[in-house]
Structures are given as structure tokens and as C-alpha cells.
Amino acid sequence: MTSRQPLVMMKGRKDGLVLVMNETCSYDALLQELKEKLSVNHQLYKEGPAIPVKIQTGNRYVSRLQRTELMDIIRSYDHLEVDGIESNVMTREEFEAEKSRERLVSFTRIVRSGQVLSVEGDLFLIGDVNPGGVVSATGSIYILGALRGIAAAGEPGNEQNRVIAASIMKPTQLKIGRLMSRTEEEPLDEMKNDHVMECAYADLVLGKIVIDRLNAVMKKNLPTGRSRTQPEA
């Protein structure tokens, strides 16, 4: 067992260190070898800026607890920082949670004052959101009707690619991720039916929520859907 393959392979890349881990050995053996390797080589990365470390566990499942354990080991060296832990394996639970964030949920109803409609994923609502009503989604919100209440899209940190679109855009408040905006209009005006087919998105350069007509949004080539996650060539 002496001339075996190393359980942890260290690869130096331009953007930092990559630790490729054996996927079949025991976790304890892995930890031990990781600690050994890091302490043996720690002279190498004593100077210069902090080096980002990426861990690849391949087909090994690492639990949340093990993840923090791995991170703690790496963080114990001053010049190393954790860039991420990649694994090909996830639990069914994690997968379901991930999947529910990707789906489009549709409703046909009026969200009236005092009612709250919140979904995981994107929300597609056929109907109005009345003043005092709240709709929220972890993704984007599309309303085929009048938005007169509060709409909250996205989660803090994922403002990009999140939009709130409504046939009639008369919200009392809009939230996209951690950004928030409100209208300064008189309550009397909220019942008029102007502001047709408008779309709100987070302008991260301005750090504000911007509402614009659809054609203007498209001209700016701003996020108009999931498809834009692939940058155009």
C-alpha cells in the first residue's frame, strides 16, 4: 500500500490551487492526507497574496458538516482561502430545492388586500394584485393583469436576471433582491389604467430598480429571461 496513488492531488493553476480528491477512499484517510499535504507544502504559499483553493470531490458526496470541516482546514492557513467545493453528487433533497427554484408556477386569481401569494421559482399570475396584496417569488414575477400591490422578486444576491413585468404597472412597492423602490403617486391615480406593459429590473450599475417600457428594456439588452445567462458572442 505504499506505492499508491495520492488521495489528494494538488494542482497549481493560474487562478489558484485545485485539490482533486480521491472518491473511493475513506473520508478520514482523506482528511489526514489533506492535512499532511498542506502542512508539508505550507512554505510554498507563505508569501504573496492569498491563494484561492478549489476542492473537487468528484463522485463523493460531502455533507454540510464535512464541507465546513474541509473549509476550516484550509482556512487555518493564512495564505489560503476557499474558492468553492465542487461535487458531482447532491442529495435528492438538495436537488428538489434546486429544481423548485427553477420552475414556473402559475395562478389564476386576484390577490386581494391582505392576501399573500409567494412561490419558489418564477411566478406567472393571470389576474390582478390589488393594493395591500403581496406577491413574491424567488425568481421573476410575470403578471397578466394589474399590479397595484407589492411585488418582491429574487433573493438578496441574485438580483441579476430577475424581472417584474405586469400588463398594468401601478405597484405600491417593488423589491428585487435587496433593492427596493416605491411610487410617489397619489392613491387616487393607482386605479387609472395607464403604465401598460412595463417591466421592472435591477440596474446594478445604478444600484436601483428601473421601470421601463418593454421595448426600452429590450434595447438596453438587459436581462429578459433565463436564456441570457449564456453571454452572447
Binding site: 386581494r112 388586500s113 395591500g132 394589474a146 387616487l188 389604467n193
Partner: protein, 265 residues
Amino acid sequence: MGEAIVVTSGKGGVGKTTTSANVGTVLALQGKKVCLVDTDIGLRNLDVVMGLENRIIYDLVDVASGRCRLNQALVKDKRFDSLSMLPAAQTTDKNAVAPDEMKEIIDELKSDYDYVIIDCPAGIERGFQNAVAGADHAIVVTTPEISSVRDADRVIGLLEQQEHITPPRLVINRIRHNMVREGGMLEVDEIMNILAIDLLGIIVDDDVVISSSNKGEPAALNPSSKAAQAYRNIGRRILGETVPLMAVNEKVTFLQRVKSLLGMR
């Protein structure tokens, strides 16, 4: 077996009691057997509006707690034999009656009467729960004010969750056309846009309504007033007739049309 209709609004002072009294009266005028039920325990008004305050012996709480029979508590109207009223108690509060007790009382009344009109208290707490417990249909009263429309919207949302109640219908009370024209009041269309339920009737703001309720006589009995006609139309619509909405002031609508043509709205 009759039908029970709850008259509710969420907000106070929009005309639930007046509407209940008048709808009850017009249905009795049409020859139906009607019972009005006041569920506003502690703040009863319906008896005053109907001019029957001095005839009350027992009340709703007495019936619910078994101190008297239902028939003993019913007060006969002085104008119509076919109209009765079950008054609320004035000395206790809303918690004196539970929703299922209320439902029992309403069910018993339904077997004797064609229509049971339930006057709901303001708010969405116990009093509201009591009032809607036995109802089959609901009338939501609102005025052309933002706050009143908001509360109506909230109440409609709550009524829609009650599976035993058919979709609520709307009465817009106290429309003042000069104010609507000047933009200080909501228009009927705007209210309908928000609330999106069937419209049962529109009642113009009429001095007769206040003066007659002070006299203890429902306004609907005075056929010359615009409000009385509106109430009568509501009664006919409840009975299933198709009655067009009254054009309240033709001159105004024409002017509005010209104004909107010129983009002056």
C-alpha cells in the same frame, strides 16, 4: 327554505345597516317574507333605523344562550306583517355568541322566511365570523373612497375563502356625481376595476336617506327619492330580475364624454 344574505363592508360607517334595512324593506314590499338580523352585538343600530327600538324584549344573545325561544325574540315590523327583525344585544359584546350558534339560528330562520338579511358589524374579527357563518350569499357595501374600497377588497378576499357563500356582489353607496366629475371621488368603473365582482347596485348620496333613518323609517319607502329607486332596483336584482343601472345624471355623463374626448379628464 329561504336564503340568507349577509351585508358587510369591513369599514365602518359606509352604510351596512342602512342597506340592510332598505334591502329588507324592498323585499318585503315585493311580498317576500323577510327577517332582518342585527349581529352588531354591543353597538346595535338596525332597530333604531327601522324605528323598532321600543319593541325589543329579547335579543340575539338571549336566543343563543337559551333564555328564550327564537320566536319570542323576533320583533314584527310596524309597517309590514311579512317583515321581522332579530335585534342584537346591547349589554354584552361580540364574544357572547359563537359562529356555530349563529349558524343554527340563521338555519332556523331560513326555514320560516324567504330572505334572512344579516347586518354585519364593521371589522373582520369575531363579529364578522358570526355574521358570515350562516350566510349563503353576501353583499359588500363600499363608498367611493380609497379606504373603503381597500377594506371592501380585504373583505371580498375573506368571503371568497368561505366555501358556503356564493361570490359576493357589490353595492356602491353614497356616489356624488359632482365630486366624481371633479376627480375627487372614485368612479364606478375604477372601483369595479379593482374589486372585480358583480355590481348589484349604485346608490347616490341622498339627504333623504339620513333624514328618514333618523325618523326610523327606511328611505326605500319614499319612492320619490333617487336612493329609494336604487334600493328597489337592488331588491329586484336580488329576486333575479335584470334591471339596468340607473343613469343618475345624464347631463354629467354627456359632459364627461365631451371632456374625455378632449382629453381633459
